[in-house]
């Protein structure tokens, strides 16, 4: 009989599920990929078969033209793979379509979270705690200083600033997949029903979210708007466009950025941000540690982020953990 958990092997370019000959979120093309969600550091094109939620597959088709070998698995559904391995897709609460993957083999259970958060998000179903032997987690915000404030507070900050400057617009830099749509949906929930103006790079993903039933209200293209009509309005763009030439067409924009990194003043200043909005689609320190306590695995594996501090936390709480050195993960813009 093989030693426990020898069937799952972390490699630098992904997690190998050996008996199934499948890889989770591989960073190079493989025959069979199990993909947790549509962000570029987890989902790549060129695989023989791609197993993911229908939402994630739609995102991948839009972004990487992945169509062949697409195998949809709904939330809660289990798919049998080769070698006696089964995979169940469970909501991760990160972005539309994001899933944790529960792998079962020879009586052992492994959960790969991909990226996740525990806070409510109107654009995707919430994270579900799934008991397991090995919990493979991210640690993007794995330092105790990270504590994302309630999102309503950040929305109030944005709307207050907007009201104080009726002649200007607030330009919000937000990651094109997930963050942008969540900010728009939260603005609507906060009672902001004015048109919201979009950078062209956000249009297709916003449309896709709406096709999956996320109502984003009235959206307009910046390229089709006049400078004057955007005064007193919210404009959304990817973080890279914040200080770019593109923004010259806007009416004296107040530069905002929606990111968990905005918790640290120097980070915001480096990006020339005037209005930092602490909004993240990743678990903060409290969410990470609470989740590990609730899941209570025999062992935690940490894929990427600030693993040193999370390892230290495991040591202090007499829990077993190890850091995997996976390449290509992590997104500075979140």
């Amino acid at each position: 009989m093989p030693p426990p958990l020898s069937w799952i092997r972390p490699e630098p370019w992904g997690i190998h599920v050996v008996p199934a000959d499948a890889w989770i979120d591989p960073s190079r093309p493989v025959d069979r990929a199990l993909v947790t969600h549509g962000h570029a550091d987890h989902a790549r094109g060129g695989h023989g078969q791609t197993v993911a939620t229908p939402e994630t597959l739609a995102i991948m088709e839009l972004r990487y033209f992945t169509r062949e070998g697409a195998t949809p698995v709904a939330y809660g559904e289990t798919i049998e793979l080769k070698g006696g391995v089964s995979a169940t897709y469970i909501p991760a609460g990160h972005v539309l379509g994001s899933a944790q993957i529960l792998l079962e083999h020879a009586g052992e259970r492994v959960v790969v979270t991909g990226d996740y958060k525990r806070r409510p998000d109107p654009t995707c179903p919430p994270f579900e705690v799934t008991p397991c032997d090995v919990f493979i987690t991210e640690a993007t915000f794995g330092l105790p200083l990270f504590c994302h404030p309630p999102i309503a507070q950040e929305m109030a900050k944005l709307l207050d600033r907007l009201a104080a400057h009726p002649d200007r617009c607030v330009l919000v830099g937000a990651y094109a997949l997930g963050k942008a749509q969540r900010v728009i949906a939260e603005l609507r929930a906060a009672g902001h029903h004015e048109p919201i103006y979009l950078h062209g790079a956000l249009v297709n993903l916003c449309r896709l979210y709406e096709e999956f039933g996320v109502n984003l209200g009235e959206l307009r293209l910046v390229s089709e708007a006049t400078k004057d009509e955007m005064r007193g309005r919210v404009v959304m763009c990817p973080p890279g466009a914040l200080n770019d030439r593109w923004s010259r067409r806007l009416p004296d924009p107040i530069t905002a950025m929606a990111s968990g990194w905005m918790r640290v003043r120097q980070r915001a200043r480096q990006k020339n941000v005037e209005l930092p909005l602490i909004i993240s689609d990743h678990a903060d320190w409290g969410e990470l540690t609470r989740t590990i306590e609730e899941v209570s695995p025999q062992e935690t594996w940490i894929t990427h982020g600030r693993e040193e501090a999370l390892l230290r936390w495991h040591q202090l709480h007499q829990r077993r953990a190890r850091a995997l050195a996976l390449v290509g993960y992590e997104d500075e813009d979140d």
């Binding site: 105790p144 918790r263 600030r306």
Partner: protein, 530 residues
Amino acid sequence: MEELAALIDALVYTRSRNEKLRLIAEYLRATPDPDRGWALAALTDGLDFPAVKSSTIRNLLMERVDPVLWTLSRDFVGDTAETASLLWPAPETHPAPPSVSETVELLAGMTRKSVLTELPLLMDRLDPSGRYALLKLATGAMRIGISSRLAKVAFAQAFEVTVEEVEEHWHGLTPPYEPLFNWAAHGHAAPDTANMPTFRPFMLAHPLEETVVDLADYAAEWKWDGIRVQLVRMGGETRLYSRGGDDISGTFPELLDILPMDAVLDGELLVRGSHQGGEQGGAASFNALQQRLGRKVVSKKMLAEYPAFVRLYDVLILEGTDLRERPWSERRKVLEALMPRLPASHFDLSQVIEAIDFDQLTQIRAGARDEAIEGLMLKRRDSPYIAGRKTGLWYKWKRDPLLIDAVLMYAQRGSGKRSSFYSDYTFGCWDGDPDAGAELLPVGKAYSGFTDEELKRIDRHVRTHTINRFGPVRETDRSLVFELAFDSVHESKRHKSGVAMRFPRVHRVRWDKPPHEADRLDALKALIKD
């Protein structure tokens, strides 16, 4: 404290000077006494609480947070106060946050010992932003780019008074400046500072440009290349103020015990040297003076190597008599009569230049470069000493700038309205013959001197000629030449090229000039005068 914390946060993220002024003015209007006075002192780094040190904060945190997690967090954030504000464990109960004045009172009462129990109680009453403000205030290291000048302008804006009045009344008062607020906000009589060694706002000059003046009405003096200072002795106490009204007495201790009478004197601070001739011997270039500026502790060696003195050009108050309403010619006579009573070791007189007419003066000015001085000052003979810059009374007539052709090497994005433009440039000159493999070495930076239209064109050039990116900086392919104007050039050990320019700015963009025809370093070095 919440309002002050919000103000500090807003200031941290604001780059526009006007917006900073607006934020501070709004706070000052909305906040009651004495909180706003304490806040004003805190913003200008005017508060110090010796019991609270950075090490105190670290020790308090190490008792509450795992030391390994503290260190990892501190390394990530890069600032002890900010890390502590974020990591401080949320208290079980939430007592009411303290006011600014309560905070100041509590901090002032703390000792090295009691701080360990009392500071945590304050921390527990605040949220992360409030804790950040508290710790920055307590350690006296706000460092959010608010100069005392900016604070005074904001104060003037808040209460619709002139900044000159604020300057005059501010000094000599201690935080929380209640008489100042009573005067500006509540219309009480101005604080009586007549017998205090306070700063009196300077009279300033306009650029002469194309104006021609009659020397019968105007007197000419050299414009010295030092720093403008005001030396004040009142009630036996002496202070030295800089052009911005900052008290720099501590930096120049040799000037504090030498005035034999109460007086307010206006002059140029210089250090002894062989340039800038004066009656009692010469002064060194600005480069030498720079060795003395900005120091909190002055060594004996510094005092010996760079002895400072004041070249006087005006007297505002002498032995109880305020001369500011008198014409310049009369003040000048008083000053000349005063000179023999002052120690020649530390004072000399800025001579009036004798010229028959404006044409002769123009010739004298043309020779000014050799004197390593900045140009000429023209002062209306019948003008009183008026704070600020009033047209027609004083003119500065700077000598023509030096010019050099240099090649654009790096460009960086600006801030505020210029944040989408590459508007800050680094230029280089050739270290030899460019056709024989010479390289460009950076010689200086410039951010101004071009129109908005030119900026757009330069920005396009930078974007289409980028060969490397380093964060916000782009390295260009070194194909564009700029004619730079600058006031002088000095040797510098801090730059690889060995030279540093003073006040470099763009004079012209030389779209036409091939880069190999730009100037060589030798040409720049030949302009060094010190």
